[in-house]
Symmetry: C2
Subunit: 216 residues, 2 copies
């Protein structure tokens, strides 16, 4: 398809597509004349992913480029590519190692992983170094510094809910046919479902608060 | 207690406390001499909340002020104060009504609420106008525009997980003794547990992806 059709089908303006091509976020099309190139379904899929990362995920262009580079590295298995791409997504603040609350928070996070049975046994286990693990430690340190509940026991139900959400996430990913599509969908859905998860939690809190404090 | 003790016990510098007092985020202490005021446990609790909103929740000072004003409005019941304060928290982007995907997204959100049995029956029901509902509609519109799954059926498991998370949230809130403390804790925990929920989801995805794609 030509640039105009790629634009119509993706809903992304030709100016923006040209910007993505120039920035290397989208691979060049197959050149057909001096001024025209041809694009395929792979371009359309990649364009949707770029759009999702930048517009919905509010991910900086440089991070999006890192994520896409990881996705494209076919020396890696699909599982490794997914891990590397997720690593490259922006994360919350890393733990401040000068903060005395951080060491205790790291122990709480370790205890929580044990309780949940996550990352057990494998020496190649990526969980201890995952950036999300750092975000979790930072959050635990903040909660404890402010005197809010955050023991491994307090956090376990959130981990159990996260397990069910992750199973749903990966069921959705497995609907995609090829490993390439699955890896792209996993990254896109990880980012795109964050506002869904957070907004549903707030709506569920309104529901539950009404049930407990008004109806009774 | 004096300012120095409030600073030690809260871990917030005296300079920052003075800024919060000046900006009206913290009520003035009881004046004891021309240069000294006395602060109580209420100040300490309020300071923790302000800190949580601004530092961990990354909420602008002006929004934090709105949240605190809602919390302080004792003409309202605790449930109403909680609702008003949560309304004042920053939310994701509101739906763009000029976007044709938004009307369909709104129907999907309605259908999802029906499936979940949320906000049923009550005419005083706040859910249809909750800002989180707008965030949900925006997210659904983006998912559908990009061709990712987002039917009410796809979203229902996320709603069920959100119900369990909200029940855990409110169990935690009910540990606090007075309605004032409960309302403050509910707002703080809503904000402070967001990074916990998101980071645990990403860690659970690594676990689940390893289980499905490596171990099998």
């Amino acid at each position: 398809m030509r640039l105009a059709e790629l634009s119509t089908r993706s809903g992304v303006s030709t100016t923006t597509i040209k910007f993505y091509l120039r920035e290397g976020l989208l691979p060049p099309g197959r050149r057909v004349t001096a001024t025209q190139s041809d694009y395929d379904e792979g371009h359309l899929r990649r364009l949707r992913l770029v759009r999702a990362l930048i517009q919905v995920g509010r991910i900086p262009v440089a991070s999006a480029r890192d994520v896409l580079a990881a996705l494209a590295d076919d020396r890696l298995s699909p599982n490794e590519r997914l891990g590397t791409a997720t690593w490259a997504l922006p994360h919350g603040p890393a733990p401040d190692e000068t903060d005395p609350a951080v060491e205790a928070a790291r122990h709480t996070a370790d205890e929580l992983m044990d309780r949940l049975g996550w990352g057990r046994g494998s020496t190649a286990d990526p969980l201890p170094t995952a950036p999300a693990r750092g975000t979790l430690v930072t959050a635990i340190a903040a909660l404890s510094r402010l005197g809010y509940p955050c023991s491994a026991e307090d956090l376990e139900p959130y981990g159990r809910a996260a397990e069910r959400i992750a199973a749903t996430d990966l069921d959705m990913v497995e609907r995609y046919g090829t490993p390439d599509e699955q890896v792209e969908a996993a990254v896109a859905l990880t980012v795109l479902y964050e506002p869904v998860v957070l907004s549903l939690r707030r709506l569920a809190e309104v529901e539950e608060s009404h049930r407990r404090f008004v109806e009774e």
